[in-house]
Amino acid sequence: MTRELKYVGKPIARADAVDKVTGAAQYTHDLCLHGMLHTALVLSPHASARIVSIDIEKAEQVQGVRAVLTGNGLCYQLGLYLQDKCILARDIVRYHGEPVVAIAADTLDIANAACRLVEVQYEALPSLLDPRDAMEESAHLVHPDLHTYNYMKGVFFPKAHSNIAHHQKIRKGDFDRAFEKADIRLTASFYNPPVQHVPMETHAAVAQALPGNRIEIWTSSQSPYTVRHLLSVCFGLPHADVRVHVPYVGGGFGGKAGLGLEPLAYVLSRAAGGRPVKVVATREQEFNTLPSRQGLHSTIEIATSNDGKIVALKSTYIWDAGAYADYGVNIGRSAAYSGAGPYSIDNCWIDSYVVYTNKVFGTAFRGFGHLEVLWGIERAMDLMARKLGMDPVEFRKRNLLKEGDTTITGEAFTSGHGNPQQCLEAVAEAIEWRTPSAPPIEPHKVRGKGIAMLHKAPAMPTSTSCAVVIKLDEDGGADVLVSGVDYGQGTYTVLRQIAAEELRIPIEKVHITWECDTAFSPYDWQTVASRFAYMGGNAIIEAAADCLDQIRFVAAQALDVAPEDLECEHGTVYPKGHPDRGIPYSQLALGYTFENGNSIGGPIIGHGRFIAKGLTHLDPDTGQGLPAQFWTYGAHSVEVEVDTETGEIEILNIVSALDAGKVLNPKLCVGQVVGGVVQGLGSALWEGFVFDEKGRLLNPAFVDYKIPTAKDIPHRTQQILLENPQPGGPYGARGVAEHPMISIPSAIGNALYDALGIEFTTLPLNYERILTRIREKAESS
């Protein structure tokens, strides 16, 4: 008989809710240490220039200034995958907004005033703004020393003396032959601009250089252990001498993965004699200094048979990495192995190039390249369906991965992967796909429906691991220590549910510490890739089992029965069938004491761990291998209404279906889906960086860079969560946090065709673009 679940799968409220509704939650922004200094930055006004001279003398003399740093003395190269970045620009600046000088002072006002006294002479260099130009042989090099940089060997392939930071190849079957022989062929190109994450808490870090070359950091980060590791490597310190705290984090969406402002805060503190130094990005710096999502140029060629079977697909993805590609290289890699969509394709050829340009650099962003790649793929699927005269849903169904198929990297697709077909059918049915939209009352408005598939797997090293420690308390409660970061996703609440379920104690008795601290919390790689509920969940199950083993071992002696004859429920351990003879955990947590005072056991501390299983590097020439711990599939359908006089678009409905494997907490899961859908709407309709011809970012503020507000949300959203279990997932769950955002633009683009008969290939689909195309169409007809 399977035990009925008490907490897993239930709509439990967030563990952190009270702190957050009362204002008690402390974020790095809120942190203030005794003697703490504040930081201001001098930023590059050029996209590409040589630094001729920097005069900091006047700034240094300002009363209250404690440290003035330029890139000169800071000969460090930093990075997780590719060490291409310095702490402050050295010799050349590579993007408009790049930090050139940093000043720490008693107050922010003093630091800002001192920055205004810094004189920097630049000699402007030609700036490369289009990655397609940057790939030309004759292009100037954004990183002339690329061939000397350290990088993760065997995984990434920076091309020496070029602007190509990584080239990922996928080769399956014989594309040329199949394309040649196919009945129907199509080629189309697409573009996504760079966009910003816009976490409401901008990046912030406080660092203190401690005596004996130790570092203590508090940071708004997704990656406590990665920050620790990279700092320890960069500064040549033992790992234990770098201590990283992560308090509450006000949103991340990938932008706070890897390293951020921490190294800068540390070198400033070191220069200021060990005073703690706080660096907080202004909103403008969040846009133009800190990383964004890379832009993408895609060209997609598809060939099918007359009856709609895709026989060959070729994609060229050219990523606009911006000035640094440390993280971008991994996006170029992962979006390539997902780069043909969730379809069965025997002959596939993908080239994914991550290319340096003179723009603000890219990093991870919720969806990790998949929103961008699937903008092209899912639009191209509709184009192809039309060319075939097939219904877009039927065309997709014909080609979706099914049991027995292999992915483009040669992975066998099984029922354990989940069911993309069910997702597609669910969203088609909910939007009444077969019924055309009802015509709107106003004659200048039109409606349409669109559909798009999505898929994604966690992009992570083959050795990614994490650990959990559970300490039993005197009252029979449990303290759970993790260093995955819950920056809003709700992971801690879910882990708490699993811990309560596994330890057989009430959920109120499970506590998760909100501040991660690398001195106490066990290792986790970093909180990215929608993998923490999966990996942390598994580790918690193992840690809880370890606690129960210890409980049974001590209780067995106390009750004089064999450990295997004991069971646990309601925070009590008892001989099977005799709950009345039980001992509460509270009497075992620190050790058991017999009536005569003799004691046995000791504090119960369980630990659990999880490491990625069976992943392989991809073959450098063919991309074949096993990159994914699990895949999550899904689909969206949308209905839109367009005002043909203004180009304005109303989203009437968005239906999302995701195969979650097991929904661990429906309330949180729906919250993730709605939030992701609306974030995807931002990418679809409004968001995108605009640069002038010199590479200066023209919209680094909310006035010109609009994100969705409460006024912009769809009239209706629907969430359909499927539960085809994931083998190896905790309770059968797989990650879903990033996925809702993916393919929202594609579904809307497809709906716009249905409404207007116009093919859009460039994001965002703002009203200017829509109106221009409506007018062009009217003129040409």
């Binding site: 991340g252 920056y487 709605v674």
Partner: protein
């Protein structure tokens, strides 16, 4: 420097502030009321929303000296008698919180709305929080939370009226 007197969450306060100091900095840096957040510093995100004489304002745009003689309410004053307010509880119940950074400002905007419009329409709610950016939740659950709080408050009032 200016001498100002005002109340914060009902507590009388006195401060000497420079002319350029914002109300936001006064609250966060001088009075340690860090529940009020800064998301942009230029009046575009609503994270710094507090109530001035019961009405929501963006405290990053107001100078501290302008608070002289006024009553300020911040998120720290929202919980009542050791328990959560109806509005706070509604935010929890509808799942209106993710990272939580926008939450204090959202709750203050919602509080301002309910002060003047106890039975708001959905349009009223959207209008009231349209200046508060949230990057996590997609707003649906926040709108539902304000609705729920208004209903619960109305229910409680009605309950009292009948008894």
């Amino acid at each position: 420097m200016y001498d100002i007197r005002f109340t914060v969450n009902g507590q009388p306060e006195h401060a000497t502030v420079p002319a350029t100091m914002t109300l936001l900095d006064l609250l966060r840096d001088r009075l340690a009321l860090t529940g009020t957040k800064e998301g942009c510093g230029i009046g575009e995100c609503g994270a710094c929303t507090v109530l001035l004489d019961g009405k929501p304002i963006t405290s990053c745009l107001m100078l501290a000296v302008e608070a002289d003689g006024h009553d300020i309410e911040t998120i720290e004053g929202e919980a009542v008698g050791g328990g959560l307010s109806v509005l706070q509880q509604a935010f929890i119940d509808t799942g209106a919180i993710q990272c939580g950074f926008c939450t204090p400002g959202m709750i203050m905007s919602a509080r301002g709305l309910l002060n003047r419009t106890p039975d708001p329409s959905d349009e009223n709610i959207v209008e009231a929080i349209a200046g508060n950016l949230c990057r996590c939740t997609g707003y649906e659950a926040i709108i539902a939370a304000v609705r729920l709080a208004a209903d619960r408050l109305a229910g409680a009032k009605q309950g009292r009226g009948q008894s």
